[in-house]
């Protein structure tokens, strides 16, 4: 069923009785060419691009809960490609280009809104690093723009320019950055994959891998055994747990990132704003809530909830840069479990077990990567070689020393 304004009009006249389910609820088949473990954003986009780009449709996506129940449904919805390192930036720029055409591609309005992202800087050192980053973005075909304090004062007069503890010296804009409606991204990919024949199996938890002679043969699930030629794991937040079923230890720790939203407000913020001297980033959703977040809580956890100190730290950051939000009320908080990797960058790679693939370690940047992650994972699954923009996202990079450490904080996951 194709969505359109006309269709909405016709349905509106006839009591909206004709809308079909966005996806089927099939039973598992005994065997698939590819089984994707994890029905979150990355798993669903992988399935979508496998079907669409590579014509592979004998594919199942296995989701232990409801589709989109992972981090795709609990993030701050920011999209951007303002990375610095060659191992990352071209990948995220590919993602940005896929975002830019996502709605037309999937026939689903995921509300990709390129209202810009701004990273503020407060010191000369930060400025220099942002210039380096901005130029790296250009070299990878992305856009970037530096703004000085005077320009920011014009564009964002509500920032604290007068009384700031850490005066704002300027900022790095990526005008093409912005936000998307997170759930709708999952739904759009799910609907697109489903309509092309991919089976999305909800409430289907993987409980084990069938591995014979170093080769994966299928998976055990709460809905029975499923054979597969290839198994692609894509379960951010649960990566260590799931891969331990295949006997693997990963360079990943699980941490919780809290996010927050205020009560709905009339238009307040034009785009995404990120504080450079504290932990705070914020945007405004189409519904009017200020969606914001900060740092991870910092301790290993699988509980999707955090604690007060981080809530306060984030609010302090917010009040420090935009003291006009003092009377906005925090309405809801939530927590997502992040795969924090050892250098802050992800993995899209084969494992040492034939036919078993791994995608994870997205830290708290997985949402923006959703299209490219699926695209590149699908490429790897279909062709057995990494996509050109994802060649460095390898599991063995800590053995060789080819780190992708944007923040430069080393092998301490909670600092990335």
């Amino acid at each position: 069923m194709r969505y359109s304004a006309f269709k909405i009009f016709m349905e509106g006249l006839t009591g909206n009785k004709g809308w079909k389910a966005a996806w089927r609820e099939p039973d598992p088949k005994p065997e698939y060419d590819i089984v994707i473990v994890g029905g979150g954003g990355h798993g669903l986009s992988t399935a979508y691009y496998l079907a669409k780009e590579f014509g592979l449709t004998n594919v199942a996506v296995l989701e232990k809960g409801w589709l989109g129940s992972g981090n795709i449904g609990r993030n701050t919805t920011i999209i951007r490609s303002n990375y610095m390192l060659p191992g990352n930036e071209p990948f995220y720029e590919l993602s940005m280009k896929l975002w830019e055409n996502l709605e037309q591609d999937t026939n689903y309005n995921s509300m990709v809104s390129q209202r810009s992202i701004l990273n503020l800087f407060h010191t000369d050192g930060q400025r220099d690093a942002f210039v380096r980053r901005a130029n790296a973005m250009f070299l990878a075909g992305a856009d970037a723009e530096l703004a000085d304090a005077r320009q920011l004062r014009r564009e964002l007069p509500f920032l604290d320019f007068e009384n700031a503890r850490f005066p704002i010296k300027g900022g790095l804009f990526q005008r093409r950055g912005g936000t998307a409606r997170h759930d709708a991204v999952a739904w759009g990919y799910a609907r697109g994959a489903d309509s092309r024949g991919v089976d999305i199996l909800q409430n289907c938890e993987v409980t084990g891998f069938d591995i014979e002679n170093g080769r994966v043969k299928g998976v055990q699930t709460s809905r029975g055994a499923i054979r597969a030629k290839k198994v692609a794991v894509c379960v951010a937040g649960s990566s260590s747990r799931v891969m331990s079923l295949a006997g693997m230890r990963l360079p990943i720790e699980s941490h919780v990132l809290q996010a927050f939203v205020t009560e709905g407000l009339k238009p307040t913020l034009p785009g995404v704003i990120t504080f450079g001297a504290g932990h705070f980033y914020v945007s405004q959703s189409d519904k009017g809530g200020l969606v914001f977040g900060g740092d991870i809580d910092g301790y290993n956890t699988y509980a999707q909830r955090g604690n007060l100190p981080v809530v306060e730290d984030v609010a302090e950051g917010g009040m420090a840069i935009m003291p006009m939000i003092g009377r906005a009320r925090l309405l809801r908080s939530w927590g997502g479990v992040m795969d924090m990797s050892m250098d802050g960058s992800p993995f899209i790679d084969k494992t040492h077990i034939d036919g078993l693939y791994f995608n994870g370690g997205w830290c708290y940047g997985g949402f923006k990567a959703t299209p490219a992650s699926g695209f590149c994972y699908a490429h790897l699954l279909a062709k057995d070689e990494p996509h050109p923009v994802a060649t460095q996202m390898r599991l063995d990079r800590f053995l060789t020393g080819n780190l992708i450490d944007e923040k430069g904080v080393g092998n301490q996951p909670n600092l990335h």
Partner: protein, 982 residues
């Protein structure tokens, strides 16, 4: 309008009338009113517009669950959007206005959306607004955003102050209703430290809203007596106007006290205080929330929850209507009818969906059995209701009771799941509660007054007994059991008109059914697809009925269908309160250098370096811009002598028999062999082999070293050293203590530095090159016996020293050094000149040692000893980190010397296209060198050490700039180091 709906009785203080205004209309209420009760007293039924369809809405509840009556309170920068009128305490001069309408509240132009609603069903926006592509950001989204949102921020800095605090108790009692009061009394009488918190300004909970009796007296009177007893106990702390909004790990609760929101003026005191309550045990007595029944046009102003109608009549002395009907599925609804009748209000009918005898007999009130309200009339205020039996009854207020939901929210904040109880048709707290929490009263499904009183006491006693207290013997308060039978009846199937579930977000029964139809069947999908429960009230009244309807669609039970997870906060918390004092200049502490005052008095401008403020340069008369000052400072230092406060560098006193051996482990190079009285440069790696920090470490005694760290890493290095000391080499006798703040340390640099120092250092200390050569150090005295430390080290590359005195003498010392240097034209210099000189000398600092740099990259690969154990040594040898073609730190100068280099430029080999594949490196730091007369830079470039003399392109597309630069040695000045040894 003068309180035409005010009736007899209630707990308001009629001796204290208060003036207020709504939408500019002057009104009057009484002390003890909420804005909502006062608006109702004045006959103001229409108070706002809904989120999506801009439907006219009135006051729906009498508590914090209010979905409709959100107003903009106060004015200008004090303006507070989305304030629940039901929670806003009335004060004299209060100004409120309605929100979310274009044009007046009565004639909202946006109400057109209501007529388009067939096309705006749940999730419609996912299916359209995609063509043409560019229209989303330009047309559709701005329109949606302008229509969405509710209230507006003033966009001005919040003028109020906020504070935070920490409280500790044995027993935290959340809620001062009957169960909470009983719990607090039990705890308090036993001598436990009790905190009793309640969101209302009048403790008592439903006792204030009902006509029930305790111990033979009106409930409100009993509550007041209980409060008086609690207030007399030293071990009980009462927090009214305080919402416990979150249950966090290990018995920590977040609470918001609204200290001055009920006053016209905060009087200079914090508006609100955010409390972190550390409880050993807690009793949650948060009561319950009534839920509505969904039927056609059930959202009209005048349709209210039955318990709220009762609260307005009993507590506030306000009749929400003149002609009232009750629609109920349970016995409790009948109480509303009975109470109103007792107050002399005209009750036209009680419509009970149950075909059963009434629980009370109300002569003269029409009882419609086994019927339901199917529709209502009256767009801006209820005029009549239509029943399933076809009857129409003219009323201006309909009190709806769909049963009560225990307020289980806090029990779920640590992801506990509530459990369904069929007898209550409601979720009650599940088996897994936050550590230390017990639940009592209606929050626990104990829905009668007598049960609440008994359970409150019992739970509190259980809690404090576990802590070793003995409960006091006291008479249990007595109350009757009120009738509580109820039917599971969620919505009126016969209604063909839209029936609202989530009043604020405009989610209807049809939307839930559509959600099911389109495959969004999990409760989380339902919520996300329809926006149910996502409004400011978090679906407190909406979620359960919607869940029941989804359960009906799927053919599952309600508990099988699930419940959404409750997360903090219970009610919204202002950002200002969460931030407390940490805003503006108080966002983080300031650290000031010892010579700060001197610098302020001598033309310094300051730069933030972490939490430090450092002088960045000292402006002299006649200097037109910062460059003039910096050039002068850098030049004069190299020509004569300059003085810079370098106290901010971290200083760690390291003592112990194993101090030297310890330093060998934490530094990549060796320190145990350093002679007493000598200083050595040290490079510290992370365990992953990346450069972490560097600095000089001096050996002042056999067992005594002083380590210097970079300013930024002082705390982090200390932490790592403690890790090494305690966790890696626990048997080393080594002791660490920071002395960063203890010593005011000054760099005295330049050819005349020795001459200058000879004037302040006491004569017995020989400063000659022979007696005190480069890299010497020692404990000396200055200015006639003042203890000091002297280090002959140089960051500038000149003959230079660092001299330290106890910090309290630092300000004075700066003055003395400058004074003593007058004859040499000594200059104080700031961080900018320091930066210029270090670039001239090729020293790597934070821009180079950015956490991605190996020793190999900065040409210090050989410094990483492979002969002794040290942190980072093994992983630093990984193949990709010691590649021959790795980036190397080099110097750069523009081929056209008049050009200004740009830090952050990328370096591209001549003749190649500027793209990521051809990226050779980047410029890390640049400066104008007044000593060389042109711009210079440091940067990393692949195989840089083999490329000296090569011309490459430095591109900065973000500036639209490109220039040719020459790769040179990073040591622009005195590459052989003759000056610093001189």
């Amino acid at each position: 309008m003068s309180q035409q709906n005010r009736i007899e009785g209630g707990l308001v203080n009629r001796a204290k009338p208060l003036k207020f205004s709504f939408n500019g209309k002057a009104m009057q209420g009484y002390e003890g009113d909420t804005l909502a009760s006062a608006l109702l007293a004045n006959g103001q039924r229409l108070v706002g517009r809904s989120f999506k369809y801009h439907r006219p809405r009135g006051i729906f509840t009498a508590g914090s669950e209010e979905p409709n009556a959100l107003v903009h309170l106060r004015t200008a920068a004090h303006g507070e959007p989305n304030t629940r009128a039901t929670m806003a305490e009335l004060f004299d001069g209060l100004k409120a206005k309605s929100q979310n309408h274009r044009g007046s509240l009565e004639h909202d132009l946006m109400a057109v959306t209501d007529f388009l609603s067939p096309f705006l069903s749940a999730g419609f926006y996912y299916k359209t607004f995609m063509w043409p592509k560019s229209f989303w950001e330009k047309v559709y989204e701005p329109a949606i955003r302008a229509a969405a949102g509710l209230g507006a921020l003033s966009m001005k800095e919040d003028p109020d102050t906020y504070d935070k605090g920490f409280l500790h108790c044995d027993l935290l009692v959340i809620g001062a209703g009957p169960a909470g009061l009983a719990a607090a009394l039990a705890g308090g009488r036993a001598g436990a430290r009790v905190i009793l918190a309640d969101e209302d300004f009048l403790p008592g909970g439903r006792l204030n809203a009902e006509t029930l009796e305790v111990d033979g007296m009106p409930g409100a009177v009993w509550a007041a007596q209980a409060m008086a007893e609690l207030a007399s106990m030293d071990n009980v702390r009462i927090l009214t106007r305080t919402t416990v909004y979150g249950a966090y790990d290990h018995g920590i609760y977040g609470a918001l006290e609204r200290c001055t929101d009920h006053l016209a003026d905060a009087g200079g005191k914090p508006r609100q205080v955010l409390w972190r309550i550390y409880s050993k045990r807690a009793v949650l007595a948060a009561g319950s929330t009534e839920r509505p029944i969904a039927f056609g046009n059930n959202d009209r102003p005048g349709v209210m929850l039955a318990g709220a109608v009762r609260a307005y009549a009993n507590r506030f002395g306000v009749a929400p209507g003149r002609e009232v009907a009750v629609f109920t599925n349970n016995d409790d609804g009948w109480r509303t009818a009975a109470d109103l009748v007792a107050k002399g209000v005209d009750v036209r009918a009680v419509v009970d969906c149950r075909d059963a005898e009434p629980p009370v007999s109300l002569p003269g009130v029409r009882h419609v059995r086994g019927a339901a309200v199917v529709n209502t009339v009256g767009r801006k205020g209820l005029k009549a209701i239509t029943l399933t039996n076809g009857t129409t009854i003219p009323v201006d207020c309909l009190a709806v009771s769909g049963g009560w939901n225990p307020n289980v929210h806090l029990t779920c904040h640590q992801r506990g799941r509530p459990e369904w109880r069929d007898d209550l048709n409601a979720f009650v707290p599940g088996g897994v509660l936050p550590v230390g929490m017990a639940v009592a009263g209606a929050a626990n499904g104990s829905m009668t007054l007598s049960a609440a009183l008994a359970e409150g006491r019992a739970q509190a006693e259980g809690q404090i007994e576990a802590l070793g207290f003995t409960p006091a013997k006291a008479e249990a308060p007595k109350a009757a059991d009120e009738p509580r039978l109820a039917a599971a009846f969620w919505y009126v199937k016969e209604s063909t008109k839209r029936a609202w579930l989530d009043l604020q977000n405009d989610v209807t029964v049809k939307d839930v059914k559509l959600s099911y139809q389109e495959g969004f069947r999990s409760v989380e999908h339902l919520k996300r697809y329809t926006t149910l429960g996502m409004a400011t009230d978090q679906g407190k009244t909406a979620n359960i009925p919607a869940l029941a309807i989804m359960a009906e669609c799927t053919g599952k039970t309600i508990p099988e269908t699930g419940t959404t997870i409750f997360r903090p906060p219970y009610t919204p918390v202002p950002m200002g309160a969460l931030a407390g004092r940490s805003r503006g200049k108080d966002f983080r502490p300031y650290r000031l250098t010892p010579s700060h005052k001197w610098a302020e008095a001598n033309g310094a401008s300051f730069v933030t370096v972490g939490n430090w403020l450092r002088a960045e340069w000292y402006t002299r008369e006649g200097e037109k811009g910062w460059r003039d000052s910096v050039d002068r400072e850098a030049k004069m230092t190299r020509e004569s002598v300059g003085i810079c406060d370098v106290t901010t560098l971290g200083k760690i006193d390291i003592k112990g028999r194993d101090a030297g051996a310890f330093l060998d482990k934490v530094y990549s190079n060796t320190f145990s062999t350093l002679a007493v009285g000598k200083v050595r440069y040290g490079l510290m790696l992370r365990e992953d082999g990346i450069c972490y920090d560097d600095g000089t470490t001096a050996r002042l005694g056999e067992n005594h070293y002083v380590m210097t760290t970079t300013t930024a890493n002082a705390v982090l290095v200390f932490r790592r050293l403690e890790f090494a000391r305690q966790c890696l080499w626990p048997d080393m006798d080594v002791h660490l203590i920071s002395t960063t703040d203890g010593w005011a340390q000054f760099a005295v640099a330049g050819p005349k530095s020795r001459d200058l120092l000879r004037k302040v250092v006491d004569k017995e200390f020989d400063l000659s090159n022979e007696a005190f050569p480069f890299m010497a150090c020692g404990e000396i005295t200055v200015c006639g016996g003042m203890p000091a430390r002297l280090f002959r080290i140089s960051f500038s590359g000149e003959l230079a020293y660092e001299i330290a005195v106890p910090a309290r003498y630092g300000n004075s010392m700066m003055g003395v050094l400058v004074e003593a240097g007058k004859e040499f034209d000594a200059v104080p210099y700031g961080t900018e000149a320091l930066g210029v000189m270090r670039i001239e000398k090729g020293h790597a600092t934070a821009n180079e040692l950015n956490g991605q740099t190996t020793a190999h990259n900065i040409g210090l690969g050989k410094m990483v000893s492979q002969k002794k154990e040290c942190i980072g040594q093994v992983l630093s040898q990984r193949p990709e980190m010691i590649r021959e073609d790795a980036i190397r730190l080099m110097g750069f100068r523009p081929v056209d010397r008049s050009k200004k280099l740009i830090a952050g430029s990328h370096l591209i080999t001549k003749g190649e296209e500027a793209n990521m594949e051809n990226d050779q490196g980047w410029m890390t730091s640049v400066a104008y060198s007044p000593n060389l007369g042109h711009s210079i830079g440091l940067g990393f470039i692949k195989r840089g050490h083999e490329r000296k003399g090569e011309i490459v392109r430095a591109v900065s597309p973000v500036h639209g700039s490109e220039m040719e630069v020459e790769i040179v040695s990073a040591h622009f000045i005195d590459p052989e180091g003759e000056r610093l040894r001189g």
